[in-house]
Symmetry: D2
Subunit: 433 residues, 4 copies
Amino acid sequence: MAYKDEQLHEEKVFKDPVHRYVHVRDRVIWDLIATPEFQRLRRIKQLGTTNITFHGAEHSRFNHSLGVYEIVRRIINNFQGRTHWNNDQRLLCMCAALLHDLGHGPFSHSFEKVFKLDHEHFTQQIILGDTFVNKILQRVSPGFAQEVADVIAKTHPNKLVVSLISSQIDADRMDYLQRDAYFTGVSYGHFDMERILRVMRPIEDQVVIKSSGMHAVEDYIMSRYQMYWQVYFHPVTRSAEVILTKILHRAKHLYESDYEFKLQPTHFLSFFTGNVSLAEYIKLDESIVHYYFQAWQEEEDEILSDLCERFMNRRLFKYVEFNPNKQISELLRLIELFKKAGIDPEYYLVVDSSSDLPYDFYRPGEEEERLPIHLLMPNGYLKELSRHSDIVEAISGKKRTDHKLYFPKDFLFTIQDEQLATEITEILYGKEM
Amino acid sequence: MAYKDEQLHEEKVFKDPVHRYVHVRDRVIWDLIATPEFQRLRRIKQLGTTNITFHGAEHSRFNHSLGVYEIVRRIINNFQGRTHWNNDQRLLCMCAALLHDLGHGPFSHSFEKVFKLDHEHFTQQIILGDTFVNKILQRVSPGFAQEVADVIAKTHPNKLVVSLISSQIDADRMDYLQRDAYFTGVSYGHFDMERILRVMRPIEDQVVIKSSGMHAVEDYIMSRYQMYWQVYFHPVTRSAEVILTKILHRAKHLYESDYEFKLQPTHFLSFFTGNVSLAEYIKLDESIVHYYFQAWQEEEDEILSDLCERFMNRRLFKYVEFNPNKQISELLRLIELFKKAGIDPEYYLVVDSSSDLPYDFYRPGEEEERLPIHLLMPNGYLKELSRHSDIVEAISGKKRTDHKLYFPKDFLFTIQDEQLATEITEILYGKEM
Amino acid sequence: MAYKDEQLHEEKVFKDPVHRYVHVRDRVIWDLIATPEFQRLRRIKQLGTTNITFHGAEHSRFNHSLGVYEIVRRIINNFQGRTHWNNDQRLLCMCAALLHDLGHGPFSHSFEKVFKLDHEHFTQQIILGDTFVNKILQRVSPGFAQEVADVIAKTHPNKLVVSLISSQIDADRMDYLQRDAYFTGVSYGHFDMERILRVMRPIEDQVVIKSSGMHAVEDYIMSRYQMYWQVYFHPVTRSAEVILTKILHRAKHLYESDYEFKLQPTHFLSFFTGNVSLAEYIKLDESIVHYYFQAWQEEEDEILSDLCERFMNRRLFKYVEFNPNKQISELLRLIELFKKAGIDPEYYLVVDSSSDLPYDFYRPGEEEERLPIHLLMPNGYLKELSRHSDIVEAISGKKRTDHKLYFPKDFLFTIQDEQLATEITEILYGKEM
Amino acid sequence: MAYKDEQLHEEKVFKDPVHRYVHVRDRVIWDLIATPEFQRLRRIKQLGTTNITFHGAEHSRFNHSLGVYEIVRRIINNFQGRTHWNNDQRLLCMCAALLHDLGHGPFSHSFEKVFKLDHEHFTQQIILGDTFVNKILQRVSPGFAQEVADVIAKTHPNKLVVSLISSQIDADRMDYLQRDAYFTGVSYGHFDMERILRVMRPIEDQVVIKSSGMHAVEDYIMSRYQMYWQVYFHPVTRSAEVILTKILHRAKHLYESDYEFKLQPTHFLSFFTGNVSLAEYIKLDESIVHYYFQAWQEEEDEILSDLCERFMNRRLFKYVEFNPNKQISELLRLIELFKKAGIDPEYYLVVDSSSDLPYDFYRPGEEEERLPIHLLMPNGYLKELSRHSDIVEAISGKKRTDHKLYFPKDFLFTIQDEQLATEITEILYGKEM
């Protein structure tokens, strides 16, 4: 039997708190899970610094990747008899689902921002480069690795397959909403996935939803909305991220200034110089980052050691609401005052913004461009979701943005010049404080 | 107001997946949670290598410690009007609950075994030594830190307080059973804690259970039994632990043999020499261990690098059942054959045993000595649980032990000498294989 | 000790699937639960005919009433220290919560519509009339029964007490959403009640919500919206209700036409004549209604027996969407055709409408007038919910109405005149069918 | 296509709180559910008087029957490829599962006891008699109804099919444990059914369990044990049942004594005379029983009216523990004293016993004879469960019996003769009371 068609002697299962069990029958899937590149995802948290706010959120990307695979597996099962897929297309979907986050590094968001990286680029490299994952995919068939890479990159000609992995209601999102809700313990994030899976219908180039299932989809979109504002953009989490970002900036700056580190930033060098090889990238997991941050608490450089100590011991920045349209002069004044007080505003006065677009039917060229959701009406026509759902229509295309100003409140109490301290406090908190 | 009586301006809560919310009103508790020593528990997994088997089990000891505190807080609330406790005793219980696991290091089980350590010793040191935690406890009152230490050490004269933290149905166990069940996703580990809390009654020197709540306690004991055999002693987890233990042994051995490490085991030196200071102990969290294991994959020493590579990439040892009474000669023969095949049996042929005593009414001098559970009968008398419950009586005092033999199955396929390979295989798997 | 202050020797609990336990400590509450008038609620389903669609929805109003009481009990607990309530006000709230649905009869919606009744009128009568409930309330204090009645009628001067029982986020709604979700098994209806309870703040004349809890309230409002359209207005449930309504109409009509019933409608007589006494009202529970409907399957009158048989055996009417603005001529034509076919359109062609207003900030004089939800902002000001929440703003005041046309599809197949049958079918389903 | 092979155009689902969804694809199943005989199960509670104790337990036998069907459907799905079953055997299993409780009447336990009936007899009659159910089964094939009846009666030659419906771990038990736990809200009754289904293996004449799933089975057996003692035998529920039984006895006695009922017991006549026809049996659902009991509260006969009033308004008998071996003389004395006090001991002094055998490997001729559970060991041999599981071995074959003495405590307070009252009280409660 061809490798691609090999079935395990007995089905293997992973106990999963969210989907109960993750089922594996295909040898290819089993072999991919066993690769070092995939096992590495165990050491990368799904939600980065969110565990600082929600202590249950320690779950890894390994977790999530298995979950996305399992959802796709179930969708394909439901599609039996409705598509003309052969086993190759089935395997393509499942591999793409399993591997779609393979290129994530530790605290991806911050690393990508500071070092101008893109985890999707590394996902492609791991799939196509000289890796264990690639060897397995090559064994399926010569072009298979490229196909998997194309599905993840959304450039694959089979749009139906792509839409399972990346649309506004794809397996990726359905898994992470439920999983993140489970591990944080929040009561949002629940929707009737079983029902959504049952009303999904494959048509030519996309997955559509039978209109009878519209309310389950509304519920999913509201879950998404709530998870963004209640969990993903939680200001305490963002505070930890702000500090993390500033650590990376500072370390890079020190390196460029020929500062003599007690612990050389060996694992970071290629990131600082902007020339990251796959091997170096893969080596960097959260343990390594923690190792450095722990050690750097004892560096001479006060800013680096202070920021690292804050990050490790959860002494976070506080925040106030900030309106960039109206308060720019206050911000400029604060920068001045911080400098006067000997607090470097570059590291200790940070505006951070979050914004979310809960659902959009069409927004070409957007960073997060995903396909709209189409309902399959009883008469056989398709209807874009927001044109049928009052709830979705109401929130559709409405981008909400939130800006906050982060700073170490504890520092303010150390300012000797009382007048200076008062002025800073008044700008930040108003006169009443 | 005295520091010990200070209440937070607004109650603080932690979202907790198991107890919904953890509530904090006392400033002392809030300050203890913010210490670096307590925050460090975020970087130590509650279940060590269990996440290798159950991928959800990434939760930290930080998690569990808050949970134990919360249960004790609720018990004390229920006790209002039933005890003559003042606020000092209340605070004593809650601090002991919160801090009882403070001395745990990474992969405690293995480290303690290999380096002859005891995490309880370090818990005492952190509470009584020169730490942030100690400073806060001292501020409560001069003898308070010692009192907390005594409760945790079970030497405190107030036996009632001790029994909340360490008995056969204490807050510690009630939390970890539920929490570990939640994060692994298994369906064991559930019992009606709310009911147990409601039927707990404080008497002079212990907490007893109203007999009407006996069935809830039976359910708890069965949960415990199932969790031990289904989760805590899972053979795949034990395999990872066997490898971990062997890595530590090997590294120590190499250090003692003046092996030249590419990456010096700086953080381990005091462990190797048996002279661990508190500062060194606290520095060692799971990130640090992972950092070394990742680096050591590239060491010259083949055993060390192989074991590290296995641990990081989940290439585990396989196992067969082993009966130490009947199969000792087979084991001796295997050792011989392994040596012949060039596989060092000291590292690659390991007998590992697990044993559990689900409940025992009295077993003085036992390592895990905990108090028996007493039922409060309608007539006001006490009755030891197993004398009233058929179920508990049936399993009471029955120690069950399980032995397994671990080895790297993949190595067997590399043995050139066919006859040698056959003999090994036959001993391990019988002739039919 | 005064009766009103009497506490039970031991707290009593009811096991409740939704709130885990319902706790009773006050003797008054315990005594009220034991009255025949309250026990009668066991024989009245919370959701009338919904169990026809969702087979789990067999739960009774007894169930729900205990739940509302429990929520109010918890809210009052949380208010301790924030209000200047004495025990009398506490008891007033809890009694009103427990008794607010006391006047519900079987299938209230249909009975009220057909016989022009109002269950709130009967609630008042039971509380104030010659009943066991009244005796207990009188024993609390002479004016207490009237106070409880006033709170339920929303005419009590203490607006804060009223708002706990009837506002847009009151204990009533919070209980039924969760309870109905639990028993139907749908995945809607979940929201973080524990959090909402924690952010509720009593101010002079209402309960407000701390703005930090806004998202939990949004979630609650979405739950409400989903439950209405997914459960309460489910077309299959409405079909059963349409039939039920028609049975009542027919029985009344037959009675007025001096039809000779095999089983005299003794229990219904006062309903038919519009002169219902309290004693007669209380006697009518769902068992009695089922008894008659079972017997009436064997009446001579074909319409009555057919409708009863349909109701008992779930042979429901089918439905098509109906637009009253555009399709009135089709409806008139159908009435004509039904008559021609010998099918009485008065009983067998029914337009049924449902409409819901998910949230409204102010709509005086509305049938379902409830108070708006106010957020307590950090600056101490109040802000009406929809002015702060995008989501709520989007759906605020948007009444959605849905009309459907119900008819017995099976009858159509029995029409002899083929042309007639075809025309009816075409109007109902369009030509393609 | 043959009727038996017909599939519904679209799969139909029932929302089920326990199994999430019940799936129906076969027209035969769909048609059976729509019969009046099956719909009648909606009006019969699964747990009779248990809702008196656990107010959530209002769920019907309709509920449970769908659940058993669904479990069998899933088991058969899992068996695909492991059995040589054709569609006929599949349908046979599913029909037997769906219909196995069809003959249950209201409060079966009491009715069967008082009137010497057997619900299984009526199940057979409904399947084989002149009913809608029978017509559908006949349409499948001439002998099919008989086959279904044989499976339910456990006389069918295909033992494997029988064991799915009646063994010690059959679909019936797995459904009711979980369902009754869900609706009562207790925390017992949970076990990992999904895992059990996955480790079930069909062999020649029975379903066995792969030994790797043993712990899930242990958990199931403990659930069963807990449900029996915590829910099914709850003394408050039994008190209601005692009263119910006495009502039936009294009504029969009055009828036989030519008492003139205000409301003639028309629906009961055939039960009193011991000559119940199927038509009469089917007519009797819980509504009818409630109708009579409500009316009979106003009968002249004081015993009948008192008992009915107690049942309807939950004024139950109290109980004390009773040991039939040691306390028979006390009982006799009590009977005497009750008579003296004018309280008829036949109706007001009742010994009620419950007993349960949590698991037994072999007990031929037992009333509740079910097949033992066999484990399929890795070596291919079968091993009876209790020989492999310590837990099960411990409780295997241990019948536990509990006797209680029920009586109306309120009556005791009405006894004028103080000495008499004292003596009765002392016997019941001991001198201390």
